[in-house]
Symmetry: D2
Subunit: 434 residues, 4 copies
């Protein structure tokens, strides 16, 4: 069809690297005899049949929501992938998130401009929360003649991308809308992991190490580290598993209570008696239901921004622990609270995330160039796939608790499960059957 493009693509890809149009990836990989394979996803990769003529392509890239490591790498690889793999030379950067579509000028992006940006944290396109206005955005897309839209963002952003996709369809425009999952929380449904996750877990080690040193250097030292994760405790769980210095990991998926027998405070007391110090990692979304309105007045943190719905649970827990030991007078404790959030999310992506971002960006480009639209690109069982928006939006956020990993974590920290006695009994009953 478009010979020039095809030749260019061919110079990059040997024939065997084309993805067959019926290549799919099975969601269900752990199988029993004759068990179903679950949903099959279209595998990402260069297609033999290219939909767009590269001379006609006008792509744009936008980053929305909070920072996470790897945004610049994805931007770089989208630009370079379009340029070098398909000869697309017109790529625009939308500045400052969704509202940049209608309130700002665009920035031309070339391989030269983006050449070194992957070595810096943040996003050269700036980002913001909110600002989504479907019709203004689609107006801008239409007015500027954009026919490929790459949207980097988390769960909310992907939802809003759907609105853009639907409005574009309604207007009958030939515009590919592609989502690239960006959330450090790693809670996007269907896909294995999102960008920046590995880097975040790595960098979290610094905070945990510091908490551990502070705790060890004091009498009854307690180090509390708050890590990202509102609905899911992936970072907290992986950082705990990687560190081996954590005594207690609290996540949103696994409810806990503070007071009384079997509660967190009792466990802290016991652990301090046993080893003289301890480290607690808490995900930001953990225990939100326990924070009373009266607690909140003490926690007027200045950087709430878009984070108003979430109270600083690390601060809350720290106060609760201090109060408890001040009241009980049983032991004097030394608690240090560390919130490394901004120091984690602002660093450049590490090597592993750089490779991941590269493949994701290239997959996104292949998908759009092949004429697919309304999909998010992401790894399913280790292979990048095109996932229709609705499967992301309708899916449940990924959580830790369904995962074998949580059991591994419990066996690693030797923390109790902080669940109610009834539940415990039920478990006990089950195990007696064996």
């Amino acid at each position: 069809m478009f010979d020039s493009v095809i030749n260019l693509v061919n110079s990059c890809f040997h024939r065997q690297y084309y993805v067959h149009s019926d290549d799919t990836v099975a969601q269900q990989i752990v199988v029993h005899k004759n068990s179903p394979r679950g949903t099959l996803f279209r595998r990402a990769g260069p297609a033999q049949k290219v939909y767009f003529d590269s001379n006609d392509v006008r792509a744009c890239i936008v980053t929305c929501g909070g920072l996470c490591p790897g945004l610049n790498t994805v931007i770089r690889e989208l630009v370079c992938g379009l340029y070098h793999m398909y000869g697309v030379h017109r790529v625009l950067g939308i500045e400052g998130g969704y509202r940049g579509f209608y309130s700002r000028n665009t920035i031309p992006l070339t391989p030269k401009i983006v050449n070194d940006i992957h070595k810096r944290g943040g996003t050269i396109l700036k980002t913001s929360y909110g600002g989504h206005d479907t019709s203004k955005i689609v107006d801008s897309i239409q007015d500027r003649g954009i026919n490929q839209v790459y949207i980097l963002g988390g769960f909310g952003t992907q939802n809003e991308a759907t609105l853009i996709f639907e409005e574009i369809r309604r207007r009958g425009l030939k515009v590919a809308v592609v989502g690239i999952p960006k959330t450090i929380d790693n809670d996007i449904p269907v896909i294995d992991k999102s960008i920046g996750f590995d880097t975040a877990v790595e960098e979290a080690q610094r905070a945990i190490n510091s908490a551990h040193v502070e705790a060890e250097s004091a009498e009854n030292g307690i180090g509390v580290v708050k890590l990202m994760g509102r609905c899911s405790g992936f970072i907290a769980m992986y950082a705990t598993l990687a560190s081996r210095d954590v005594d207690c990991c609290l996540i949103p998926e696994s409810p806990f209570y503070l007071e009384g027998p079997g509660g967190v405070l009792e466990f802290i007391e016991r652990r301090l008696r046993e080893q003289g110090h301890m480290v607690i990692v808490i995900a930001e979304g953990a225990g939100q239901e326990l924070i009373l309105p009266s607690d909140k007045s003490n926690m007027n943190r200045p950087d709430a921004a878009s984070d108003d719905l979430f109270h600083d649970v690390g601060l809350w827990l720290s106060l609760k622990i201090k109060d408890h030991f001040a009241r009980n007078k049983k032991m004097t404790i030394n608690l240090k609270y560390i919130d490394p959030t901004y120091m984690i999310r602002a660093i450049p992506s590490n090597a592993s995330d750089n490779v991941f971002c590269t493949l994701l960006a290239q997959s996104a480009v292949h998908g759009a160039m092949a004429g697919y639209t309304g999909f998010t690109v992401g790894p399913v069982n280790g292979r990048n796939c095109y996932i229709p928006f609705h499967l992301i939006n309708e899916g449940q956020k990924r959580v830790v608790i369904t995962d074998q990993m949580w059991a591994r974590l419990l066996s690693s920290t030797h923390q109790p499960s902080f669940v109610n006695p009834q539940h415990n009994t039920e478990e006990a009953k089950i195990t007696l059957l064996i």
Copy 2:
């Protein structure tokens, strides 16, 4: 059966985390309609039925071959996993590789002793090449009453583990023999990746960055970095993809030639003319067939040790490039050669590898405690499985070239494929059919 064990296990694992005995992982994940699933591997995890009574278990751990990041983490987690998950208190360290079985005393390993070792590179058990003597080793196992043998090593080591496994069967001993794949080259068949690989790719960035800075700061500067990889170029390829500063990546799986049109030297000349500097990454096993005996006299490196069969291809390539430009007098070059091998393999594992090593060690322990033997533990499509030794030994070493990744790399470095003209033509022909 063994109630004490079962109770201990139950306190660690909720019922739902037991692996069903018919849980398998399909090797074939990219599927077409009704396509076969390939080999199915038994999924690793805690079994409901435990074979060993923990009071009777006497486990031993041995590390063989060269260093790679993560050995100490695996040792730590084997010891802690046996102790905390199953109550096994008698774990012995075999010192200095296979020959330690018969020529050295064992070292008792406890959670306290191994508590912090994951923060250090190398192996606290020391390691060595060779020294395998099946009957002496099995004598030692028998004499010491050992009934679980954990062997960390690469392809060769896993082969030798099979000999131990078979001799043990021949003697009718009830001893679990478990292999844990350790090769920084990442070339072990069947499994997704081996321990230390992520860390190695990360650390390789330092060498590549330095080569890039040296190259950029000189006129016609060339930075050459040699990375590990004898049969496969995984580290070289991933490090190149992660860096984006590499202009040419040479690996064992993709033959190349130096002189003449389409050769590496011509490409170097062109790239220098275009951008004034360049970075070359070469895997240690690349181009071995091109090294003539006469070249070798120039490369008497002191640290050959067990590496006698491999000539320092980075040194060889550097000399060839220097000779070429000295001879042609077309341009004066400034070449800097960096061999970061020991600086990469001796560092502690990063967070991602720490999690990987933990899960691998726990899987190994679950497998042995369940009574499985003669298997290597490793991830298949992202899930840890028990892989019978023979599938590892008979499998072909993993290579890069079958992977889509190599195409991605070529499109990222824009290097030619350095293959012969015929091959090129053939490709061209095919693409015309589209």
Copy 3:
């Protein structure tokens, strides 16, 4: 005198390395014609005449106050210096600060025990604030037969060391009391710098970098970083000079005001208009006089501990900035506040501090072995000296403002001096005279 010691010392030090007993270091190094040299300090180093017989020495080490990088290195080098340079084999660790003298058992310290501790942050001896009880401490020293006391601590700790020194003199005991200056604030009088300072400045770069990335990635992004420094802004100033990304540095020695013309808020507004983002570094002791009681209720931080007198000025400033822009409605800002305190002070010392700590510890040992007492060891104009306690205690805390460096910083950040208009006029007048 003590031949065995002398021989041991001789085997370590060539004759020329002895410090002459009348070697002194001049405090005044910038000199005019015939200007006085200021105080002369006795140079530290091995003396030809050793006071103690090493067989009789019973040394002890104690760490007091907050953490700073390098404590473990000093402990290690005191132990190794005493052992290897003088053959002293009996060194005790006092655990948990001053109160450890009378409320805890001592820990024997040997070269083997301390061999690797310099690679870890914190202090293996644990530390605490307060707990000083002169007579109980000297009782303990006397009862245990200790005759060398090495005290690591900051300004307060050195003051208390004087009390111990005087009580010991009053009792007529032959005990050397040696202070080793430990304060990350770097505010100890007379000496050039204290341990851990270089490491702290290095590590502070991470926080500043993150603040910079966050600020750059948002519209009107402001990154606020609080760094250590109660009476002096050394860390803030050096970290700012090292980074070059900081737009405004606020320190205790240089008063400022927020509102009105020439104030900090006006400057922030201007800088945001000019470049769209900015980074502010504030030392913890800056602007304390501006914090009103009504502000304090908002800042109930959990980790106040011994820090009760200081309010979190970073939090306060962040709230003030947010309030200002919320009120004025001129621009929407995005402020991120980072407090890296514990992540900085808990890391291991870097190479430069390791060398510094080694020389300091060796100097301390030489001084005590030569029979000196009642002194703090520290660098004066780059040479380690013995400084009598009273010169430290009576000296004024070191401050930044007398230093040329502050002028350099102002010329580097281009921030105004935030002083009152009168002062500005006066300056202008003077310069007209030139």
Copy 4:
């Protein structure tokens, strides 16, 4: 005189920060009663009387010789210092070392262009060895109307700067020639230290750590690390002192011999017997006199470049050690040789060096603007001074051996001094007199 400049300067510097024109720094700081102060050096800093009108200034910057950390920081701060402190807007970069003056176009340098370069290693101006042609260079300076020349380079470069300075004087040009000492070896006379040194010592720790891990993980493991230092062993010595893992440090200033009693090989054997492994650090200039022509054929290293006069002593030592143990058959050793040279010198400068580079560059600018010429700027006893070229050129290169530090190192590694027996006896005799 030039009011505009003065006002600008005044806005930067409070009155008290001007350097008095008779401020000097005494070279001799360790003093005895009435001892002479040695040479007095003019203290660097802003002068009250500015020589150049900033509108007339045309400055240029050139980097010569090998890389070291901090070059880009100095370039940045020269440009920003001239611009912000004095309003000088015309600064040219000379590309590729001395030969760039006559064979290349110049590059305009502005604060915007250099804003982020301090975060990258190397030099954005590129560098080269040689190429010095006094009259061509001065022709170029004259033709381009340059009146301030900033030359970054080591001992040789500073010598050549003198030739330029003298030719300029001969021609009667009003051109300030300023040297900025750049040598990672730290061997420039008079000054305390040169840029990049701290960073180099820090980065060398990685190589030493790796050598230590490799040595510890093998039977009779020996790790050999070669570090920079041709005439002086500063990096080797400081890296050894910082690490505490080094058993033997060999430097140019302290001769040694391999074979026989008291030789290095005997020491290695002893240390291996004692502790089973060891780490050796060798400076590149150590033992050059021991390398026989016959050894050299084995050491044809590809990256000799300008380094032809120096043979790879690390490689040579490694071969000698391997030969020795292969011959003696007393023990099997495992030797790993690490040459981290390029990985050290190509990294960005750390915080401490960034501050140092900033002050040095600002001092250089103040000196030139005040009308001084023919000087090198550098720290003497911790204060930056203007040092006339001839005192640098006629001075002896700085060496380690006159320093107390070497004694400290010997007492830290417990290595013998490897000197001949006569010398030892002489020492013994002297110490008996005490």
